[in-house]
Symmetry: C2
Subunit: 263 residues, 2 copies
């Protein structure tokens, strides 16, 4: 008898599929790409994909499903998006109506799944280089802010760029630009550093999403385009139906973070 070898991403998905894990995915399957999730009716899917294409820094698309097909074979041969995320959010007309751990009851034949790159991948590369990630050090969520930078609109989708912020010493900020530039499919290089007010952030101590983090003397806030941007944009459209992952509860894939490196 031979057994197929299972990678860590698939192993975690199997646990999740079996209902044995329903929590946040940070730290699961180290080295494996995790993804933000947006599932939309086919009628909105083309505009959404156009929006992502026009705004690759906040919306780096890793995979798009066939309509009605719950598989994303490029992210995992066995992957079933209806069961393989620990917790989902189901939205009707812009209202959150459920947070299930399984989508089989609400699945529709017109749903298109988008897996969108997530900053976990580049944070791993930064940590591997010895750079401290403040919100990880203090054990909170990354602070995120709506900016005054408009995304390029596409169809019904429009709205401001949302950014995540990590405070760093200047030498680490320079190194972080180098490292994250290698990862264009998970937000790439920072979009700003140093002057929050100039991108429309009035109070760095009051993020619009996530938690505030301390910024030390001679540290500067470094801002990356954030995968919350597409979620905020979808929320604004109030589609009759859509599904996202629950915050922090991502899709774990078979891909290795290192394979996303452009260099």
């Amino acid at each position: 008898m031979t057994q197929r070898r299972v990678n860590a991403g698939e192993r975690e998905r199997l646990r999740i599929r079996d209902g044995a894990f329903t929590g946040p995915t940070a730290g699961l399957a180290p080295g494996h790409v995790q993804a933000n999730l947006a599932i939309l009716p086919r009628a909105l899917a083309h505009d959404f994909l156009r929006f992502a294409q026009a705004n690759p820094k906040p919306c780096p698309v890793l995979a798009v499903s066939e309509p009605g097909d719950p598989r994303l074979p490029t992210l995992g041969a066995d992957l079933d998006i209806r069961t393989d995320v620990p917790r989902y959010r189901v939205w009707r007309n812009g209202e959150l109506v459920a947070e299930p751990t399984d989508l089989r009851d609400v699945w529709r034949d017109d749903l298109v799944t988008f897996a969108i790159g997530c900053s976990f991948s580049f944070e791993e590369a930064l940590i591997d280089d010895g750079i401290e990630i403040r919100h990880i050090t203090v054990g909170s969520n990354v602070p995120m802010y709506r900016t005054n930078i408009p995304c390029v609109p596409a169809g019904v989708f429009s709205g401001p760029l949302v950014v995540s912020m990590r405070p760093m010493k200047p030498a680490d900020a320079i190194r972080a630009v180098q490292i994250t530039s290698r990862f264009p499919s998970v937000h790439g290089a920072p979009v700003h550093l140093g002057f929050p007010a100039s991108i429309g952030i009035a109070d760095i101590g009051k993020p619009d999403y996530g938690d505030p983090v301390p910024i030390g003397p001679e540290e500067m806030p470094v801002f990356w385009a954030c995968g919350v941007t597409p979620q905020a944009v979808v929320a604004q459209v109030r589609p009759e139906f859509c599904i996202t992952h629950a915050p922090g509860s991502m899709l774990v894939t078979d891909l290795r973070n290192t394979t996303l490196s452009a260099l």
Copy 2:
């Protein structure tokens, strides 16, 4: 009759060799690498090369001659370092004793020539990308500062890192990190941005070399390791004899700036 095709670098060197040009070289032979020059007696050459090897950001060595040999064939087949720089500085025991346009009278059989990368190369890449270089806009010399960052000492050579400064908007600073990271042999990525005091610069308006430049609102000072570092280090040693280029009067080479790009 056939004529050998002459590149722009060689053409400018021929003019300089003939005495037809004795000025600053900024803007000569666009696209061609220009180099800082240090010529030292053989007795000091090994320590100096070790210093450069240990401090590649301020001292990126492009070529080293054989002792007594005035040629640097990797930078130009016909290049003769005794005649091909518009103006030199000759130093004896640390004192400037002459600023000739030709070294044939002072040449010695024990002299070793070092050609060291210069920021002209990366400034061209920044300008080609649409980034404003302030000291070029205002028509002055780049401001340079001694820092509190020690170079790695080697033999008799030691001293602080000297940096050049270019003020930029944050988005340009991020782009400039990406662009200059591709040019490790001409100082590479910035060494600092944002907090001059934290690298020992008390007054950004008072550079130690060059001229001050205005810094606009929501601009930050971006600092690169500077080729003045090895000159300052050599000056401190007060060697019995040495030669440098006169400020701004560089060695023009056959190399293209683009060939220095690591990617």
